[in-house]
Subunit: 667 residues, 3 copies
């Protein structure tokens, strides 16, 4: 890559064309070298069917490029013009409550609608053709924030495709009935055409039906995206991405597997330290090159007609950006350049106001640029150093917890976030990896909260263990089948054999008085947990009190050169005792696995390692309270242009340092 | 009866047929002598219209019977196969918000739908024929948990029947208009066909319309049940029941009046001491023989895809069962035998897991069985001793409080539960009786929160008083007409004459500063209350402070050999002062009525009396904290096989004793 | 006017005609000299189409008049008979969620429906004809509580009218697209017919669309009312009104501009001191004569099937009424005379019960009458004294805050209420004036929370300043265009020039650490605020801390003989510091503006001035806790019939005095 990108979302189609010249001046003043355009401009490019004219955007791309500013060009499918829906309610997204989304919204046309697909590909083809050899277009973005609003659509078109999808998956209706156990409540279907969509309300739908409908929805929306990519690739070799947020109803791993790079929307507030760190660890690990892009975040505050967030404290924007660049981002982008004058997002922070004057965030953006310039030469010669610890974060797991929310009021993300936070607190560098990711190079693998362990995952993890890795599996992993039913051989099926245990009981442990003990520490056990008996494994921690005292809650078993550790139940890490217990277990196994890339820092301060021509440590105070860390080696700090010595160092609130180490770490 | 039944819900249709043999072994191991089957198996028996085959269940019944296990056979109407609804949305239940229930749910077809009725009777006829002389079938259950989900359906079929029902009730539309006062807001109807269903939203519907629609719904669903019973009776002489829960939108008294025994679903958690006691007092009193059946309760914890309850503490299951048996239950049944592997209730506790191993509840079930074996000979020779105190619990009253929820955020059940709890705290044995129940044998009758006092109820109560009973009527009884309008002669109509009072004001007393005084006690008055003047009666308690100081709030009047006591307003029994005041009033009149069957026990511990060949006292610690009670006479305690002396005794947490008294109590 | 009216809502059509004689006796006993009738009696007068007979009401009017009781006759359009809607769902109001209101409700037929309009005018014409020269009819009320339930209807008829309204407003669709900025999200419309109604759900609708739909709704419902008035005026010269509540979705200023007097429904509870004071200040100021009417308030407590309020404490009703009469009310009316026996408002307090006996409120009503008799001669010879301070309360502003609720969880009314409360606490007499009101006679004008400042408002305010007035504009005024978009010249457009400032930033200030300083006081700034730079103005208060320290938050600029004061941001007046800061600013400018009509009273006690033949001070303790005030001059107190001296005086809880001053105040 030639540079670290500093980017902003740009809507020139909303303003008089002559404003562009003024805009370019401001962009250059704050180091913007990339813009993202076009995602909502379908009407602008095709006001009436087939009256397609994309010349405006070609002009803008060219003009920007002539000033050294690249473009990420977006396909405009999230906002179909009125002619796609006027008089055609059947094309609208229908949610499970029967609500139809209408014009004026985004993504109100079902992405499974054939007319949308046809017309979408047409406008995209026109754009791709017009921009095919344009050096200004450095990348493409497909649509915008797919499935941000409505998880599952249940329109008529989806109904038909659902039946087709089921037929394709199960072959015969009898297979489906068997897999889903539809004799229950006489749910049995005689044909695929009869299978209902999970409309509200029945009582609760069959878990297999619900999880499969969610899969169907995720697969078909990915198909929509991949179709778009295919068209673009016929004309353009620029890499293709899509911008996601962790909360969307997508299978992001599958989505990005066929795209060229991952992009994420941040929008964390200034107290969201753990959230941005989590996101960077997740989206970076989706691609082997350890790179990703931050597509959207607010330069100051977020807002729309119904709410506004608090403006960031000074300094936050720099650490949000530096954290991204250090973690592997090759670009960092704001939403948006100029405040909207109309619509529904007038109160969202921007670089300049609707009347062309600096907005609150602009000064911060300039500070980001200063930082970016300084880090650029060093970061371009290094990449994020691959961690030795990985934790599986699975969209399939998230989907299971939507269907069967056993996390006592929290979602999968929140639960995983808390685990991630505790890994970070232990000073462990970590990747959040998809369930299909390679385990190559890791020493310690955590697999919590993965209700269904696929055969391929099991095989991969077993191999990882045999090769010397330590695999901590559980809590709440492996207790459901692929079809979201209960195993009938034993609670955790093959995992029990592999881990050398027998699950005696699997039950809701919260508030039953059950505690887990590991070494000298104890803490209450919560959520659904396994009371274990061993069958080849060794007991490493026992359940005390409650309904199943004397059972194990952690076991370990040697396998090849490594170990498989079954964590049967979850200590309550919302309280201090639970955190200590959980961290003590992880630390114990990190030691055993000889995980060497660890750092020491006060809570709220983190260290990120890059490697390549140099070893670089980026230290960031993320919680805005300042904090100390331990520099492991002498080096050169680039912002102070000074030599620094190994040992304790102190960061101001939202303070940061980038140290080029004198000698590579002995790790 | 030949035995006390120990029962479990069984779904052999969901598992390979060969599993039955293993199941029988486990059942026998824990003393199961009865199973309940078939309620969701309509598809299994009739996969396509008229392809009826019930031979599987006949085989299972026979096999179980050959092992000494009886069957309650259920009609499968709660879960119609897909062929009843696919392509027929008009058959689906429609709630007042316009939501249609769909396949995958239970009771999603309207019970007023003629096609459901026709097809339901057909499958039932086939079952009844096939099992008509089968000695294994000891009883029938109709459908399952009618009206558990949707109170009132407003489908098109219901609309037609509603108009017919109204015509039948009122004869002419003018009668309806007069009764409902429809000149108000120009609601007036010119024909029955115009009368709306209480769809949401208008503002609020006319109270007469709402209460009558609720009656219509309750009457027609009972008609559905009674039609089923009629068909079964053509072939089988086994008794017929239905399983209800206190929360369903049913008139249970009317339902069971034409069935053979009452069955209730419990599902109380281990802190639900007052709830199970309340239920047992209610369902027992529905039949003259003082018997009932507990159809469903969880052996350990309840759960479905969206929530799970905390597992019972050890010992709770025994006292829940012993309380039932002692209170008149001839059977006690769990839901369910084997954990569901699919569907939506996978997380519900069971006897064995989906993989055939003991579940958390199994050990507790075995302890219940041990207890059951010991009590059986004694309980079979006695019956629950009829109490001298009765409190009217009326589904009609409950219906009025749905229409006009004047209980400040609580429902009728919760309000009555609190009163019942205070009766129990006074050591008073009590029945909860329907409004049509005989008053024969009672000495003290309480009639609180019965907005409409029918003429027949008034006549019966008056007779009860003339014969020497004491009738405490109110608070909040008699202030509405049958049509849910206000009386226009005086506030409480005939009750004022009978009780010798004049209601000066009837108004919301909460937070107005009004207190009630009885003897030396005072407490705040809440809810809508009557400020009374006497007109033949004596003032027994006065209102102090607030807006109507100096009025009476309790009066009494002699009538024949008894007394009618009007409790004009409700002391706040959520606070200690209110409880003391209320209990002091009831105790005063229990003394006057010479109520002799009272016990002394610490709060949370109760005594239940049985009588027959012996007098038996069952003492139970229900709150799990242990407690003392006073044994009124020497006797023989069956669990310790030892003689015990009259006087103070102590129970452990969830402890219990069953004492055969040496001599009958002098009561 | 000949008298102060004492009025009650009367429904003789709901009771046997012979009851009228009894009713008249009771009315006379408590001084009722006016009734309001007919608003729900459409069916009674026209049971079937064209079978119109209004003779009953003519008889009642005549009979009442013969007893000295006048009538306000209401048009019955809120409750169309069943024949308007049976079989005609298309006539029903449809809310944005798709819910249709149905028969049994009120206002369930869309007021834009042509059939309703036609039939409504017909029945009104019949009434107006029949009562045209009737001396008993002293006024007319149109419909009842328009838009009390559903803000905006989105039925098909509304859709058509919406398109017509848009065409009329914008001429060409291109104008609309420009004005609304519909290029955003490709919302662009090619024809008026395509413009959507703001159905739920899209994400959020375009702000211009939402605010305009609200205007459309308000204008067309006013058209409905004004059409009714026109018909009545063809036959009757009696003045016409409508009864509103502050919460309805109406433009009351526009509504009353074409009616003859304003009427308001109160229903404040006894702790609603500031609310009734606010309402009286608002509805009085709508008409130049400083008069208004209180149409509805409860004599004791409010209630319907779903809730009941606490009965008023003793004495409250008198001060609610006295406050009204003193503030300019020429009549004070209760809802309702006799408790409803049927329907949905049986639990609402009344003068007499359904059985004809005194209700809780009756005694209070008699006390009101006693008071009214004493004040009548004095009040008829005076009028409310025009205040020197005015604050603009705009239904257009309220509408903007519905579309874009930037008030952090509060509504426009609640926010303005708090400001009004603080004006009152400063002892400032004040009018709440519409945005089209004349500023003649005021010295100090406050214009807070008016997002759009129209040109005519700006011109008027500028003239006011040039003539010597002080205009405090802001916070949150002028930051949106008429079309609910953002200005593109500068933040506040022309206001910046006029006020001599430049808005540097306009952003959400809450919780950013920003404080405002004025003189020696500081307090946190909240909501969206302007950080100001001056451009001709003087800084009067600075922003301290937060993101924009050093900017101004209050500036002033001389203009002609007066001053324009820009309050850029809002101190948090929910806390004491904020109240002190805000009050100190207002007091400073009230002094500068030489506002002389101020009073001194303890918080919770207020003084109201009347002027005319005498100067009268009405002192009222409104919070029910009693309080002191300073009588500015010697005088005669009418209730004690005694001379009183200037100086401190004390009022009991809900106490009051009316003092005829010996000499006019020197103000």
């Amino acid at each position: 890559m030639e540079k670290l990108f500093h980017c902003v979302a740009y809507y020139p189609e909303l303003w008089p064309e002559e404003e562009i010249e003024k805009d370019i001046l401001i962009m250059k003043e704050c180091g913007i070298n990339l813009v993202r355009m076009g995602e909502f401009a379908w009407h602008f490019m095709e006001p009436r069917p087939d009256e397609i004219d994309v010349s405006f955007f070609v002009r803008v791309v060219d003009r920007l490029y002539s000033e050294g500013i690249y473009t990420i060009m977006c396909t405009p499918t999230p906002t179909p013009p009125i002619w796609l829906t006027h008089g055609h309610p059947e094309r609208l997204v229908t949610d499970i409550y029967g609500n139809k989304y209408i014009h004026g919204a985004r993504q109100h046309v079902c992405t499974n609608n054939p007319f949308l697909r046809e017309r979408g590909l047409k406008i995209i083809e026109a754009m791709a053709k017009a921009l095919q050899n344009n050096p200004g277009v450095i990348a493409w973005q497909l649509d915008n924030e797919l499935k941000a609003l409505v998880g599952e659509c249940v329109c008529e078109e989806c109904r038909k495709l659902w039946h087709k999808w089921l037929k394709n998956k199960y072959g015969t209706i009898e297979n489906l009935n068997q897999a889903w156990g539809t004799e229950i409540w006489s749910e049995y279907y005689n044909s695929f055409e009869e299978v209902v969509q999970p409309l509200s309300p029945p009582v609760i739908h069959n878990s297999s039906l619900m999880s499969n409908y969610r899969r169907f929805s995720r697969e078909t929306v990915n198909e929509f995206a991949h179709e778009q990519a295919q068209i673009i690739r016929r004309f353009s070799s620029a890499p293709i991405t899509h911008d996601v947020h962790i909360s969307f109803a997508l299978d992001t791993h599958a989505l990005f597997s066929k795209l060229d790079f991952t992009s994420m929307n941040g929008y964390t507030q200034d107290d969201g330290y753990n959230i941005w760190l989590f996101s960077y660890d997740l989206y970076r690990a989706m691609k082997q090159d350890g790179q990703f892009f931050v597509t959207e975040t607010s330069p100051s505050y977020a807002g729309n007609l119904t709410l506004t967030t608090r403006p960031h404290r000074e300094g936050f924007l720099e650490i949000e950006a530096l954290g991204a660049y250090a973690s592997g981002a090759f670009g960092f982008s704001y939403w948006l350049f100029r405040q909207q004058r109309a619509g529904m997002e007038q109160t969202h922070g921007s670089l300049i106001s609707a009347w062309g004057q600096p907005e609150l965030g602009l000064e911060q953006v300039k500070r980001v640029e200063k930082m970016r310039e300084l880090i650029q030469p060093y970061f371009l010669r290094t990449r994020h150093k691959r961690p030795q610890v990985a934790m599986t974060y699975s969209e399939q797991a998230r989907l299971f917890f939507f269907t069967e929310p056993l996390l006592e009021g929290e979602g999968y993300f929140e639960t995983m976030l808390r685990l991630h936070e505790n890994l970070e607190a232990l000073g462990l560098h970590r990747d959040l990896i998809g369930q299909d990711a390679s385990l190559e190079g890791y020493k310690l693998l955590l697999t919590p909260f993965l209700p269904y362990l696929s055969e391929s995952y099991m095989r991969k993890a077993e191999q990882f263990v045999r090769n010397g890795g330590i695999w901590i599996v559980g809590p709440m992993s492996g207790y459901r089948t692929e079809e979201h039913t209960v195993h009938t051989d034993c609670c955790l099926s093959n995992l029990e054999t592999l881990a050398g245990v027998k699950v005696k009981y699997f039950y809701p442990m919260s508030n039953t008085g059950a505690s887990g003990r590991f070494k000298h520490l104890t803490a209450p056990l919560i959520l659904h947990g396994c009371a274990l008996e061993t069958n080849g494994a060794d007991v490493m921690g026992a359940v005390e009190g409650g309904r199943t005292p004397g059972c194990a809650f952690i076991t370990e078993k040697k396998l090849g050169k490594g170990k498989i550790v079954l964590m049967g139940a979850m200590p309550d890490i919302k309280i201090e005792e639970g955190r200590m217990l959980w961290q003590s277990i992880i630390e114990h196994y990190a030691d055993e696995a000889r995980v060497t890339d660890r750092f020491t820092a006060q809570s709220g301060t983190t260290l990120i390692y890059r490697t390549g021509e140099y070893e670089i440590i980026t230290a960031i105070n993320g919680n805005g309270e300042g904090g100390r860390y331990l520099l492991p080696s002498d080096g050169y700090e680039i912002f102070s242009h000074s030599k620094v010595s190994a040992g304790k160092r102190e960061l101001a609130p939202f303070g940061y340092e980038v140290v080029i180490l004198d000698s590579p770490l002995s790790i």
